[in-house]
């Protein structure tokens, strides 16, 4: 047919591009996508979710002073966490030494273990402490859990400098703050936008999704103490992790995922009091979540 090799390439390019430019019916477009292994409905839904989440996140974008406040809060929270661990251990040890010499003599040797970098040593020390002083052990375990959350976040922050500061800011707010506004900012401005943005690059997403295993226990999807308009943002986070196709993340998300009926009940309870736009957003999040959970079965 052709003797000019570059011509063949150009002819193919024009066929492809002009063919793509030609108007296609919905059926033709659907067929073209299916031919490439893409479900048109799924594609439309994913694009809609991307856009909606992104816009939703932007609507809740922080004012500059809020960012400064969050940063100050994060730094304060880290300091408090370190202080609390130190204070709890030393203070209780001192009290025990003063008033209960026997207990102190038992707990004292556990302190190096409790403050060890080795998780297994900490676990053993905690188990022993449980026998000696359950209250002390419970308080220490809680402090250690918080300390670990901070340490882990800081360690990973070095690996992903783009997302980690925002993840850390979100986790710290969820972990330590009881201010509802902080929770909203954590969900809409920190954690959900990071997850949505990371989805654009699979490598980033895998890294971020694995990191979000720490976020999962902090979500209050199953039983929110107080209903906030960040609820369906949390639902979106859970949903994205359920759909992540990353085995440990999906498993962890499934453990946190309530039955759709539970979410539906929460929707029924709170949706009537929401503005139209929020109610629709909430409804869509519930629908997507329900479909995702069903698909996972």
């Amino acid at each position: 047919m052709t003797t000019n090799k570059l011509d063949s390439q150009e002819v193919l390019r024009v066929i492809n591009d002009a063919g793509a430019d030609a108007p296609h019916t919905a059926d033709e477009s659907r067929e073209a996508l299916a031919d490439a292994g893409i479900d048109a409905d799924e594609l439309a839904r994913a694009i809609r979710d991307d856009v909606r989440l992104y816009l939703r996140a932007r609507e809740h974008d922080r004012a500059p002073w809020e960012a400064i406040r969050s940063l100050a809060f994060a730094l304060t929270a880290v300091s408090v966490a370190v202080f609390v661990v130190w204070f709890s251990i030393t203070y209780r040890a001192e009290i025990a030494a003063r008033h209960e010499a026997t207990r102190a003599s038992l707990i004292g040797p556990l302190l190096p273990g409790l403050s060890s970098d080795d998780a297994s040593r900490r676990s053993v020390a905690l188990a022993v402490a449980q026998e000696v002083d359950p209250a002390f052990a419970a308080a220490t375990a809680e402090r250690l859990r918080q300390w670990e959350a901070v340490s882990l976040a800081q360690a990973r922050a070095n690996r992903n400098s783009v997302y980690q500061p925002r993840i850390l800011a979100g986790v710290l707010k969820l972990e330590f703050s009881r201010d509802p506004d902080d929770r909203k900012v954590a969900i809409w401005s920190d954690l959900l936008p990071v997850l949505v943005e990371a989805r654009r690059n699979r490598d980033d997403f895998v890294d971020v999704a694995i990191e979000y295993q720490r976020v999962l226990p902090l979500l209050r999807v199953r039983n929110p103490d107080v209903f906030l308009d960040s609820y369906w943002g949390e639902l979106w986070i859970l949903n994205i992790l359920l759909e992540s196709k990353i085995v440990p993340v999906v498993e962890a998300a499934r453990q946190q995922a309530p039955e759709p009926a539970v979410v539906e009940r929460i929707y029924q309870m709170h949706a009537p009091s929401l503005p139209d736009r929020d109610r629709k957003a909430f409804e869509e999040a519930v629908t997507v979540y329900t479909n995702t959970v069903k698909a996972l079965r």
Binding site: E28, D35, D61, R202
Partner: protein, 206 residues
């Protein structure tokens, strides 16, 4: 990633609010198909469903185009693009062009640009020769299998003579635009099928 300055402009908000669910589905369907076809060509560089060059997914390239518009970073000039779909297709072209100029895709021509070959090496020269030969074979096979399709043969010949757009092909052949569009779609489908069968037979072009 997007600051306050990038909040949705009011004209964009109005357009978004105006779109019904059905229109939204139709729009994303067309944009998804367009992004896929514009990026894949016949090369089949990427094996995963929906994956475009440079690690993009069909979904993400369409989402990015929409977000560029919604955030106000790409303004819809209605005198240049009569409808939203045409405008967003141009945005997709722009994104694909950027993507194709990445290291991984430097051999794929972007949009109307000629094929780029940067920093040629003996190995890249050999690969280039192999690839060009494969294009010859693919086009020859398209023509052979279209021997009963007069319109398709006319279209190929018109393109070979320099017609680079649908309008130019229609002018060169004297055929109505709709006939040319359907012919182009037939040829494209055929090319895709042939490229895929050759790839499955272990003759992947790249």
């Amino acid at each position: 990633m997007v600051g306050d300055a990038d909040r949705m402009p009011s004209d964009v908000r109005r357009e978004v609010d105006r779109l019904s669910d059905g229109e939204w589905r139709a729009l994303t369907l067309q944009l998804g198909r367009y992004a896929l076809q514009k990026s894949r060509r016949f090369y089949w560089r990427t094996g995963n469903a929906g994956e475009l060059p440079y690690g993009e997914m069909t979904e993400s390239i369409v989402s990015k185009a929409l977000l560029l518009w919604m955030s106000g970073r790409r303004r819809w000039n209605r005198s240049e693009y009569p409808d939203l779909e045409t405008f967003l297709k141009a945005a997709i072209d722009s994104l694909l062009s950027h993507s194709a100029h990445g290291f991984d895709n430097r051999r794929i021509g972007a949009g109307d640009d000629p094929v780029r070959v940067n920093r040629a090496t003996p190995e890249s020269d050999l690969l280039e020769r192999e690839r060009v030969t494969e294009h010859d074979r693919l086009l020859a096979e398209i023509v052979r299998q279209s021997s009963e399709d007069g319109i398709a043969l006319e279209i190929v010949e018109a393109i070979r003579q320099g017609a680079g757009t649908r309008r130019a092909i229609a002018a060169a052949t004297g055929r109505p635009a709709e006939v040319i569009d359907n012919g182009l779609k037939r040829i494209r489908r055929l090319g895709t099928t042939i490229a895929r069968s050759r790839s499955a037979a272990g003759k992947q072009t790249i």
